[in-house]
Amino acid sequence: MKAQRSLSEIKKKEEVAAYIFLSPYLISTLVFTLGMILFALYISLHNWNMFQRPEFVGLKNYIKAFRSEDFRRGFYNIFWYTLIVVFFQTFIAVFMAVILFKPIPGKRLFRTLFYAPSVTSSVVISMIFWWLYLKTGFINLAFDKIAGLFGGVWQNVEWLNNPTGLFQLIAKSFGGNISYDKWYFNGPSITWMAIMAQAIYTTSPTFMIMFLAGLVNIPVSLYESASIDGASPWNQFWKITFPMLRPVTMMVVVLGTMGCIQMFDYVKILTAGGPLGTTLVPVYQIYSETLGISGPIRAGYGAAMAFILAVVIFVLTYIQRKFIEEKTEQY
């Protein structure tokens, strides 16, 4: 009996100690995460300029957000951005990881070089790309040289100021025309695709590292048995590597999706949502409204937009988890 009591006392003491150890993180999480979320929810139901008493408006801010053409356009833009960037960054990351996993000379050097864009500040990367994307920049020059090799002439493109959509370009090549007013039919603009290319370039190496870590965990015995059974390298990739990487792929796709939906920095630095709203994204709108960048501060409206965005991210992540986890084989 005595022994039992002392055992439960020890357990209790351990629990208290555990909470005390956790307290630094718990306090900051309660204050800066949970507290802030609840506060944001509160102000999303109010009109608030940060300095005066919030005025209760119910769901008006949410309704205003849904009615806002700019906000809908932001979601349209971010849909294309997420779709294209997540696909290409995942594909390129797997490709680079598989190549670098092979015993090739200078492997470590290549890993470092490939990873460099991921650790470079987004401001610095944006400035480099801004320079490359100039109408008189290196990318136009490169296309001009390539066109010259085939006897053609390259018309310089203003990469960061061209609102022409992908579907508009396609329609044009077939002699058709889609009006700029019908932005929902235009597809991602040239400027938006230029920013996507920049994002893919900078984020793929991070995910490459994750895939490399995933590759290390695949038992060599699986490849050995497959080789004995006569499986080709291509078959080995599709039947062993790819399925075994599914948990990493799931993580990469989820992280990539969340990162893409929250895209902000490149837009802030390079385009401010232009040209003609083709690079407008929800987070940039939330930032502008909350801090009153070009008008009165509307923190309540900004918070309402942020909650709508959070719900979208939650739903998408849930769907992805369901979709990928169900198909993931456990070993």
């Binding site: 100690a17 005390i20 630094p24 300095f51 061209n162 003609l276 960048i293 070009s294 008008g295």
Partner: protein, 438 residues
Amino acid sequence: MKKALLLMMAFMLVFTVTTVFAGGQKEKAPTTAPAQAKKAMAGAEPTSFTKLEVEKGATIVFSGWGDQTEQKIYRDSIVRFNKIYPDVTVDYQPIPADFQTKLKAMMAGGTAPDVFYVDDQLMTAFGSTGQLLPLDDYMGKAKVSRKDFITALLTIFTYKGKTYGLPKDWGTLGLVYLPEAFKEAGIAEPNDNWTWDDIAKAAKAISEKTKYKGFCQNADWARFAPWVFELGGTYTNADYTKAALNTEPVKKAASYILKMKKDGFLVTSADVGAGWAGEAIGKKLVAMTYEGGWMVNYMRNQFPDVNWKAVQVAKASNGKRADVIFTNAIGVNAHTKYPKAAAAFTIFVTSRENQAEITKTGFAYSTHPDQINLIKDPNDKEIAAGGLVGKVAYWGPNTGKINDQVSKALERIYLGTMSVDESFAQADKKVNAILAGE
């Protein structure tokens, strides 16, 4: 062992709590004028205003944006201020980047400086919400009048008849050009009697005969403003309640610019591979553009070997000249512990004495109309002349959004996605929606 563990846990807890709750405390930087220097300065008397009684031992924090040049100008201003007010300590804390965003966050957190720069964005955020101190009483005591300043400059900083900021400097636009481009094309250089047609003709000749592009103008509300103002146009009505973009003056000005662009004599800075029109002049890519007094220092520092000149913006064919004025003020935090000292500093920095010293550096123009003749640089003088016929592009609390719609309308016509009529009709509709609070 147990004691050590408990001690460690207690330390961690204290550390977390202090970092979490005391993170917002500001560090006090040393004052700009050492005590000895202040003693030596004591006793100076102002001439253009009356010295105010201030709180004893006041220490005020002053913040603004700006590069090293601007920071030096304000450090020098503080030294001059301390000659009159030796007992006030001014702690200068410049915020070179994202000034407005930081100021709003600081104000919301109760850590904003006592005195700071105010522009239209900050006036919108702070003016109507009681975060700025009305200066009229202090101005009265110091015998400083609103009439001492260029009238147009106070437009932004006045709310419900009260003054919430005193203009610290201002700028306007002029026709900036490269003489060598005109020489190469064999045509006469611009002068103050030039009209839009003269610009168009010269731009055509230069584009056709030389390596330079004629005229550089981006899809920008500010560079578009003089064209509109000269035709008697505006962006909203006088009380900022209705858009005025779907109007003849706006559309006529836009059509004129668009024709030049379509004819190939007007380019954007991106067309020629420059970040902005001033850089296009510095790199000798274009012959003409509308830019402001900032060109003087920019060209001196970045392109010292390039010979450039400036005249006033061209007149419209109706013979009228108008210009756009940009201005910023200095305002006082309504929650300052030392309102008298803060107001005294604001009044001093924007006073004739101090503005005369700043004007000498070539950094900015004085906000006092009788000091325009203090500008020495001939190009600066030409550009500043626009101030006499200038108007501040301020349209109430939604100024930023309205100006943004004008830039977007220009962007649409530049890109050829809409006609002038369609584009400005759309902008007009959007501005009305903004003004209606949608």
